[in-house]
């Protein structure tokens, strides 16, 4: 019996292959985009974990100072107290071609290092005079031309951009003698030790992964996940529409099967089985799609992470069982969610009589009202969430509430607009067009909801990206004020170079900085000399009067927005860098694209606190028209390999290229979401196609040609898409505001001004109209070419 009933249910799809294709494609797209994001996130996290494992840090807690570094004396005290600890010294090693992260370890105490062992050299080799540095082959080029390098050992297992050495070698390279950045708490500690909190109250115990960068990258991955969920939701609109239609079309079949003795329970079970089977097939296709999309997007994600946080994601996408299972789980879960309403309708479906057209129309109206009430509830809940819940969770709750709530309000809004439009109709045909559009609304409203979400996301994310770009360009123009940036090979050359420049009356601004740990993550402290370049160009957000004067006098510090927001430090507050190094904050400046905190103090004040601050980088101020000639002259006068020069335009172009690449992923996901929404419209129109004939045939019989009817179909689709696009605009702007003022602040630590880009809206409207036209084209062409006999069948069936 089950086989016969199941066969009858499945036979529906063999007669409606397009509908089946729609269902599978919708679900596969939804699962695919979600799985792609999960694969990227999983790969990035695995990459971080690999990097941590290569450094022998997996699963080990560590001690970090609340401020400054840990002294060797404190380390010795803790060892004497019986604690098994391994010291680590970390810092940026300034090279000619940028900088790398140098990690100095004590090979005698440090946990086994997988990063070293595959090279064939025992861990202790790092101790052999004059020491060794270990690095990934791709990092080697950055060391090109660096003088007095110790022997280099290449290892594929170290993360890119990291150099590993013995701690004493790191001390001399970084100029941080007698200092330790953190202490790794080794496993198997002896029993009965005095608690660390008592022995060293100035140190904090942190889990290995709980670093500032870890938290920052988490927020990036949360953003990606939110995008994946949105795409998943848009895809589910297709599933919901198709499943609902599949149940609606089989109303008579259910009734017949029930009349032939198939119980409601069995029929429900069979329907569920059918859907689960389709979900599994579509889920598998979605996984393949997700794998391909993730593979294509991973390099850009890696570039984004590198640009934003300095983290690198290596390798390609690997298949993980957990990823496959979660993808299939989401496909099944999504199908159940998307088909819940259709199942509820199926359960309530009267066995004996199908409700009449009037009843269905009343049903649709009442369902629109219920959806609108739920929508309002979601918007209110989301708005309350941002007031009651702090951080990213509150921001995302607001986004989810507003987006979903607005989507649920859409059918009622469209219906009201169409009703108002109907009152303006003058001719019989236009009256019919308005009434027909309103009658079709229940069938197509899901697709329009998907379009609303996709358009609003595009407007919101586009506004955020463009606002960011505009701000970034303005900020860069202010911040990169020196006409030429120069780096000399060593400090011996510094005097010769600056003297040469002084002879030519060129202003030289030293770029000198030291990196120190602060609240568990590194911050960079710049020492600056008194010059109007800072007063006139620096992008200040908040400042006390004469803020720069106080900085140059050694009595104040400028800090970047990230540090200000993270530590809640604003002008007038005191920045405590160590117990004996406290500076009043005199101003806060914007510093986009930097994951870490930054401080600017006077150069003498910096040199007073930090013994060795490299002096090899300079900004040169001169009339812009003379820059090219000066660069030529420098190259002629000095060994070109010993001085690296970059002009302002070049550095701006490079920064902008990094910026643009950062948002490639966002752009790609944006476009994919819009594509899915376009597909939703197409599938809705195609699946409604068969049900359209009984409505169109009488109009045809009354003298409207098939060609006219076909054009009206396209017009209807365009009108609905245009209305939806207009309604998506305010929603998109709300989304942009939340992204710029709430999510960005939480995720990246900076707030951006919001700009509007009407031309982008017009372009998006154009895209939406193209999608709507393309979607309506197939049914319209079918209608224009339909045989009169097929239209006549409608009347034959009505006997």
């Amino acid at each position: 019996m089950r086989g016969a009933a199941f066969g009858a249910l499945l036979s529906h799809w063999s007669r409606h292959p397009l509908q089946l294709l729609t269902l599978v494609a919708g679900l596969a797209l939804a699962t695919g985009l979600w799985s792609a994001v999960q694969a990227i996130n999983g790969e990035a996290r695995a990459s971080y974990a690999r990097a941590s494992a290569q450094l022998g840090l997996t699963g080990m807690d560590m001690l970090i100072p609340k401020n400054g570094n840990i002294s060797v004396a404190r380390y010795v005290e803790l060892r004497r107290a019986g604690w098994k600890l391994a010291p680590v010294l970390e810092g940026r090693w300034l090279l000619r071609n940028g900088s790398v992260k140098l990690i100095g370890i004590d090979p005698l105490n440090h946990p086994a290092l997988p990063a070293i062992s595959p090279t064939g050299s025992p861990q202790l080799d790092a101790l052999r005079s004059p020491g060794r540095i270990f690095l990934h082959p791709s990092t080697e080029s950055q060391l090109d031309g660096h003088p007095d390098l110790p022997p280099v050992i290449l290892t594929e297992t170290l993360p890119t951009g990291i150099v590993l050495s013995d701690i004493s070698l790191a001390e001399s390279i970084l100029g941080l003698h007698g200092q330790i950045t953190r202490l790794i708490i080794l496993p198997d500690q002896p029993m009965g030790l005095k608690p660390l909190a008592d022995l060293a109250p100035e140190l904090l115990r942190r889990a290995a992964i709980d670093t500032q960068t870890g938290r920052l990258t988490d927020s990036f991955h949360l953003n990606l996940t939110a995008f994946g969920l949105l795409s998943f939701a848009v895809g589910l609109f297709i599933v919901q529409g198709t499943v609902g239609l599949g149940i609606e079309q089989r109303r008579n079949l259910f009734r017949t099967l029930r009349a032939m003795g198939v119980s409601l329970r069995l029929l429900t079970g069979l329907l569920l089985g059918e859907l689960m089977f389709i979900a599994l097939v579509a889920g598998c296709l979605g996984l393949i799609l997700g794998y391909l999309v993730a593979g294509a997007l991973l390099p850009d994600v890696s570039a984004t992470l590198n640009g934003l946080y300095g983290e690198t994601v290596e390798g390609g996408i690997t298949l993980r069982l957990s990823w496959i299972l979660s993808g299939l789980g989401m496909a099944i879960f999504g199908t159940l969610i998307a088909s819940a309403q259709a199942f509820a309708n199926f359960y309530r479906m009267p066995l004996l009589l199908a409700p009449g057209v009037q009843a269905r129309s009343l049903d649709a109206r009442s369902s629109q009202q219920v959806m609108a009430i739920v929508g309002c509830g979601l918007i209110v809940t989301g708005s309350l969430a941002i007031l009651l819940i702090d951080g990213l969770v509150g921001g995302f709750a607001l986004l989810a509430g507003v987006m979903l709530g607005s989507a649920l309000l859409l059918p009622l809004l469209l219906s009201a607009i169409l009703a108002a439009g109907a009152r303006t109709a003058r001719s019989a045909l236009s009256e019919w067009i308005w009434a027909d559009m309103r009658a079709q609304l229940p069938g197509i409203s899901l697709a329009m909801m998907a379009l609303l979400l996709a358009l609003a996301t595009n407007i919101g994310v586009g506004t955020m990206t463009s606002s960011f770009r505009l701000t970034f360009v303005g900020w860069m123009n202010q911040r990169l004020s020196a006409e030429i940036y120069a780096t000399v090979k060593d400090e011996q050359q510094t005097g010769e170079f600056t003297g040469w420049l002084a002879d030519r009356d060129i202003t030289t601004l030293p770029i000198r900085w030291a990196e120190i740990p602060y609240d568990g993550s590194p911050i960079r402290i710049y020492g600056v000399v008194d010059h109007d370049t800072y007063r006139e160009n620096w992008p200040i957000l908040q400042a006390q009067p004469a803020a720069w004067d106080r900085v140059f006098d050694g009595g104040g510090a400028m800090i970047n927005e990230q540090l200000a927001r993270r530590q809640n430090l604003w002008p007038g507050n005191i920045l405590t860098l160590s117990q004996d190094w406290q500076i009043p904050v005199t101003g806060v400046y914007s510093d986009y694209g930097n994951p870490h905190g930054q401080v600017m103090i006077s150069l003498p004040a910096l040199l007073q606190q930090v013994s060795h601050v490299p002096n090899r980088q300079f900004g040169l101020r001169l009339p812009p028209k003379d820059a090219a000639d000066l660069m030529k002259e420098i190259r002629q006068s000095f060994d070109s390999a010993s001085i690296s020069l970059i002009d302002q335009a070049d550095i701006k172009a490079r920064s902008l290229a990094v910026f643009d690449r950062t948002f490639v992923v966002t752009g790609a996901l944006n476009l994919l979401t819009l594509g899915v929404a376009g597909f939703a419209i197409l599938t809705s129109l195609l699946t409604l196609w068969t049900m359209r004939l009984p409505q169109l045939a009488p109009i045809w019989a009354l003298g409207v040609s098939r060609r006219q009817l076909a054009w009206l179909e396209v017009l209807r689709s365009l009108a609905l898409a245009s209305l939806t696009a207009v309604l998506a605009l305010p929603l998109g702007l709300v989304l942009a505001w939340v992204l710029l003022s709430v999510i960005n602040v939480e995720a990246f630590g900076w707030k951006l001004p919001m700009y509007v880009f009407p031309m982008d809206w017009l372009r998006l409207l154009g895209l939406a109209l193209i999608a709507a036209t393309a979607a309506a084209a197939v049914p319209a062409i079918k209608l224009a070419r339909i045989k009169p006999a097929d239209l006549l069948k409608v009347f034959a069936h009505e006997r």
Binding site: M1, G7, L253, R258, A259, M260, G261, S263, L352, R799
Partner: protein
């Protein structure tokens, strides 16, 4: 007695008992016999038929089919009765549009686990459907579709065939032809027939006629 109805009443929710759709209906039908139920539109004919088919629930009274009372039965048991003991022919045919004629003919028998291919072949030929088994319902005329519906119902060899205005959608010629075939096959298979119609002419061709007026059997 194959069908026994005792003091049956049915009232739709929200309506007073005075406006009950069926009131105190009592009726018997012997095995192998046929009965025609006539009445005006809205008199309760279809409601009574649906109650007998265990598709709907009554308020008071009892219906017994082949000795089994429908009172208090679970949905599962009611479904089993519909699979094995009764079969329905609808005015709208209710064929499965996505199955071929051949598969439609076998559907009820397969659901009831009573497939008899010889009997099915006999039915197919006798109903004039032998050349149409690969077609889909939408490719058939109304008369042909109703013949498939009758074949599908009889293929399960039900003890009771319930027909709700089976020729209501057909023209006079097709109607006469379909009715003739149905009566012939019913007699041949020993099935009892409970037929709802508003045509006195059709009713006259059955063993017995009863008339329903405003929910009361005359």
């Amino acid at each position: 007695m194959l069908l026994s109805i005792q003091n049956l009443s049915k009232c739709y929710p929200g309506l007073p008992p005075s406006r009950a759709v069926l009131r105190n209906i009592s009726l018997d039908l012997e095995a192998g016999k046929s009965i025609a139920l006539t009445g005006e539109s809205g008199s309760g004919k279809s409601t009574l038929l649906h109650l007998i088919a265990a598709l709907d629930h009554y308020d008071t009274g009892d219906i017994k089919i082949d000795g089994t009372s429908l009172t208090g039965l679970t949905d599962r048991t009611r479904a089993e009765i519909r699979r094995t003991k009764v079969a329905l022919v609808f005015q709208q045919y209710n064929l499965v549009p996505s199955l071929t004629v051949g598969k439609n003919l076998l559907l009820h028998a397969r659901l009831g686990g009573r497939v008899d291919l010889d009997w099915n072949t006999t039915l197919t030929h006798r109903l004039g459907l032998a050349d149409l088994t690969d077609r889909y319902p939408e490719q058939l005329s109304g008369g042909q579709q109703q013949r498939v519906a009758i074949g599908r119902a009889l293929a399960v060899r039900p003890k009771l065939l319930l027909a709700d205005e089976p020729t209501g959608n057909l023209d006079e010629t097709a109607s006469a032809e379909v009715l003739k075939l149905m009566l012939e096959l019913v007699r041949k298979s020993g099935t009892s027939l409970f037929l709802v119609t508003h045509s006195a002419q059709i009713a006259a061709q059955l063993d017995r006629q009863v008339h329903l007026s405003e929910g009361v059997l005359q």
